[in-house]
């Protein structure tokens, strides 16, 4: 169970995600999908090229954000983004 400070951090993250989706015109599904791919890549490095290609194709990040060599920290962030986005989609936080 997240404490008050963690809840605040989660809300901040959700706010930024919403901003990102709104300003880029991306659909939440893309972040959820990238999150799932990142989680799978953490278990199997061989999946990284396809994950990277997919992430770059969205245009919300560029090659400097995703170097050719996989970084588990970065992957874990994508997983977190995907889970937060999924939660927002399920609870209606992203609107209609």
């Amino acid at each position: 169970m997240a404490d008050a400070n963690q809840q605040k951090q989660i809300q901040e993250a959700k706010f930024e995600i919403k901003n990102l989706l709104k300003q880029t015109g991306q659909k939440p599904d893309i972040l959820i999908q990238l999150g799932n791919m990142a989680e799978a890549t953490l278990k199997d490095k061989a999946l990284y090229p396809s994950f990277r290609q997919k992430a770059l194709s969205t245009g919300i990040n560029d090659e400097s954000d995703l170097p050719p060599q996989p970084n588990p920290f970065t992957l874990s962030i994508y997983v977190a983004l995907g889970k937060l986005t999924s939660e927002m989609a399920q609870t209606g936080e992203l609107g209609a």
Partner: protein
């Protein structure tokens, strides 16, 4: 100045919703950046773009990784090639270090956070061998975590060097954590000779290699203990401990005393882990005039490949900045002669005592 005839085509190459071209000045560009625009360069047009900063999203998401994705530490650690306790430690180090860097912390702060996380994640219930690996796991993890942000502008070399130091800090943290544990639990006094205590204990010797020398009966100074901060506050006995003033004075002694300690075996293993981690770090450091050993001497990153606390290679010259016999007593400030051996000095240097 020629008018852009194909500006519509150029505008159509905008990414993530960008549909317009505009003339702006540096002040306006700065305003857009302050509003969260990335200021990245469109790879198709070469023009700057001010779409929402992905790094801003990363910054806030990094903080909540472990909250919304609890298995993150293990997953990251295993991704790095670690298993068991070391995986959790390396993963925790990676996430902590990366988060600190992503949120504007310095590499130094990141490494401290990383190794502290590693120690916290890795010590509980660890075996001696696992403790020995924690320091290296922390270093590897912090390196990885730091590297991702280094790509975004950090000084990779500093981060890697710092990561190697992280092994030492982690080992020390592990020891301190265990010491704290020992201090809050009923201690069990036992008498045991130094040789059999450290030199003969299976597992520690196998794990630490050279580190076992620190506690062997050939080194009456017992400086490995000396280097652990606050140890004296946790029940080491006095003059019979190592002959003379234990772990402080380090006077040569032919005596092989029996000693008593209220430290739990776990605490002593933690100290051993600290020593092992320290040696591992030291063995990867460039030493002027000494043969090259182990890991890359430039970055000094401790990778999983050297997590076995290698004891091979140079044991000379590390303390070159300090000549033989020039260690001064903390009590008198006077120089002492031949009161330590090289391993002792390595650990002393490593732990900054």
């Amino acid at each position: 100045m020629a008018k852009l005839e194909n500006n519509q085509e150029l505008a159509s190459k905008g990414r993530s919703g960008d549909t317009m071209l505009a003339h702006i000045n540096p002040h306006e560009a700065e305003m857009l950046r302050l509003m969260g625009g990335a200021g990245s360069v469109n790879p198709d047009t070469g023009l700057p773009e001010y779409k929402p900063s992905w790094k801003r999203v990363i910054r806030v998401a990094a903080v909540v990784v472990s909250i919304v994705y609890p298995p993150a530490a293990i997953a990251v650690g295993e991704f790095l090639g670690f298993t068991g306790v070391a995986a959790g430690a390396a993963g925790a180090a990676t996430i902590s270090a990366g988060t600190v860097l992503a949120t504007g912390g310095t590499p130094e702060q990141a490494l401290k956070a990383g190794v502290a996380s590693a120690a916290g994640a890795g010590v509980g219930g660890a075996t001696a061998a696992e403790l020995g690996a924690v320091g290296s796991a922390a270093a590897g993890g912090a390196t990885s975590g730091g590297a991702s942000v280094a790509l975004a502008g950090g000084d990779a070399q500093d981060i890697l060097k710092g990561a190697a130091k992280g092994a030492v800090i982690s080992g020390g943290a592990a020891g301190i954590t265990e010491l704290a544990k020992a201090a809050t639990t009923p201690s069990v006094d036992y008498s045991i000779a130094p040789k059999s205590q450290y030199g003969g204990e299976p597992g520690i010797k196998a794990t630490m290699g050279e580190g076992t020398q620190l506690f062997s009966d050939t080194q009456p100074g017992g400086l490995g203990i000396q280097a652990v901060p606050s140890l004296s506050g946790y029940g080491l006995s006095q003059s019979t401990q190592y002959g003379g003033e234990p772990g402080i004075k380090g006077e040569p002694s032919t005596e092989i005393p029996t000693y008593k300690s209220s430290l739990s075996p776990e605490a002593q293993r933690a100290i051993s882990g600290a020593a092992g981690a320290g040696l591992n770090y030291l063995l990867t450091q460039p030493v002027p005039g000494a043969p090259s050993v182990g890991a890359d001497s430039g970055g000094g990153a401790v990778s999983p490949a050297v997590s076995g606390i290698s004891s091979s290679g140079a044991t000379t010259g590390l303390t070159g900045a300090r000549g033989a016999g020039e260690i001064e007593s903390k009590q008198t400030g006077k120089p002492r002669q031949d009161v330590w051996n090289e391993s002792s000095l390595r650990l002393k240097d490593a732990l900054g005592v």
